[in-house]
Symmetry: C2
Subunit: 248 residues, 2 copies
DNA sequence: GAAGGTTTTCGACTTATAGTCGATAACTAT
DNA sequence: ATAGTTATCGACTATAAGTCGAAAACCTTC
């Protein structure tokens, strides 16, 4: 890999792994994909999918590659870098840096997973290996924050959905009750979701059929930008031009 | 899968460096600390301070250690991890992963910097080395976002300050005009800043002396949490208990 | 097909937060 | 004193968000 490395210079190098925190809302709860370690260290504990970075490989590609062994890659609707852990003793076998990625799978997708792998509700985790429990916590915080100022819900919700379904998904991911009325109004106003022509079949018990919505975009967009302290832009054609009174 | 790491297995390892994006507001503009490369590659271009990760060293400590050679460490009021770049060709000399850190220096501090090192306004950068220009851009976005939902301003502002000074600092870091009235009200309500007993001496031209403010905390606190879609908590003692109508 | 049950949707209201603007306060210099 | 300058504050407006209940649109049962 090293091309013109100065031969006299001895620079340390480090093993590096990519980890994926794969979230999916199942049965109204936020779940994370973990596999059970069969051997020491942390035998029997549950770990995040991941593995070593390959030569010439980027971290994002590495995360995808290792995830592909545990879950169908096509089902991963969003992937983003979280953080890099560098504690020298995070792995008792030796030093390994780890870069964690947040990966989201839409509700309803039922990707096939290997026998040693299973979904676990994030607020009821089994014993975890290494620092993977703490990494899962960071991932959850990131997801929570982004749900409120981006359209990241597209990666958790199915292609089309009713507002009630979306409310349940948001409630599971956010960890607190969500008002359907509010959710509909806010996301519609922001242009995050839009109604389709179709309606959902009413439940067995009957009830008014719900309109099906979809996400307007299926790539990440920041929809609620941090605009604090910014003066409003006056509507064009009004007032004198070139005024900048707030900075004077 | 791999149990007790088979000793015959040759796992690749990678050089890794920590980089610091040091920001300071100077003369009403957001500046970043860069040093001028004297040798190839990118001879004459400007680079972020940083250097290789040491054995047994954590990334944050490594960033601090390398920053110490370019700026007085005591002046760094806040340090946080940004992201890890892994493009195999980001360094033409060979593969080096880089983890970037955001570092903030308070206005007014005048740390001594080496001869090859200088401050540059972020919106008027000279030619930069490697991917350091892009990393600086990411850092700036992070700073902008955090200014609006955390108390991170404490790491940009001096110990005490007038609202007008704080407005200039925010305006420089955010890149848009800021209303002093609004800034005062919002940050006070959130409990981010608080008035001291003292007042500033009026400027040469006179004018009413301004109250000096300080930040209530000098460590990072999220003050404007993302609470979208969350129902309000009813004031205690009101209504029947145990109701959860929004999730029903 | 009328009645009653269920779920969705919508409008009207209230509250909280943020931006605007001008009046007043408190200083300096002449 | 008077004029000039800057800071502070209150009152107003605008926007966003949370609450609540009525009406809509389906189901099943009688």
């Amino acid at each position: 890999m090293a091309v013109v490395l100065p031969p006299h210079r001895h620079e340390a190098c480090y093993r590096h792994e990519a980890l994926g925190v794969v979230f999916q809302v199942r049965d109204g709860r936020l779940n994370v994909l973990l596999w059970r370690r069969a051997a020491s260290p942390f035998e029997g504990a549950w770990a995040l999918p991941g593995g070593p970075l390959g030569p010439g490989e980027r971290l994002g590609a590495s995360a995808s590659r290792h995830l592909a062994t545990k879950v169908d890659l096509k089902e991963i609707a969003h992937l983003e870098q979280l953080e890099t852990r560098s504690d020298p003793v995070r792995d008792p076998r030796g030093r390994v840096l780890a870069t964690a990625y947040l990966a989201l799978v839409t509700t309803g997708a039922r990707p096939h997973v290997p026998a040693d792998t299973a979904w676990h509700p994030v607020d009821d985790l089994p014993p975890t290996a290494f620092d993977h429990g703490s990494i899962t916590g960071s991932a959850r915080e990131r997801l929570r924050a982004k749900l409120s100022y981006t359209n990241i819900g597209f990666a958790l919700a199915p292609e089309t959905f009713t507002i009630a379904q979306l409310r349940d998904i948001y409630a599971a991911a956010l960890g607190h009750p969500v008002s359907a009325t509010n959710l509909q109004r806010i996301l519609t106003r922001r242009g995050v979701i839009e109604p389709t022509e179709e309606v959902a079949r009413p439940a067995a018990a009957g009830g008014r059929p719900a309109t099906l919505y979809r996400f307007a975009a299926r790539t990440l967009v920041v929809t609620n930008p941090f605009a604090a302290f910014r003066p409003r832009i006056p509507s064009p054609g009004t007032g004198s031009e070139g005024r900048q009174p707030l900075n004077a």
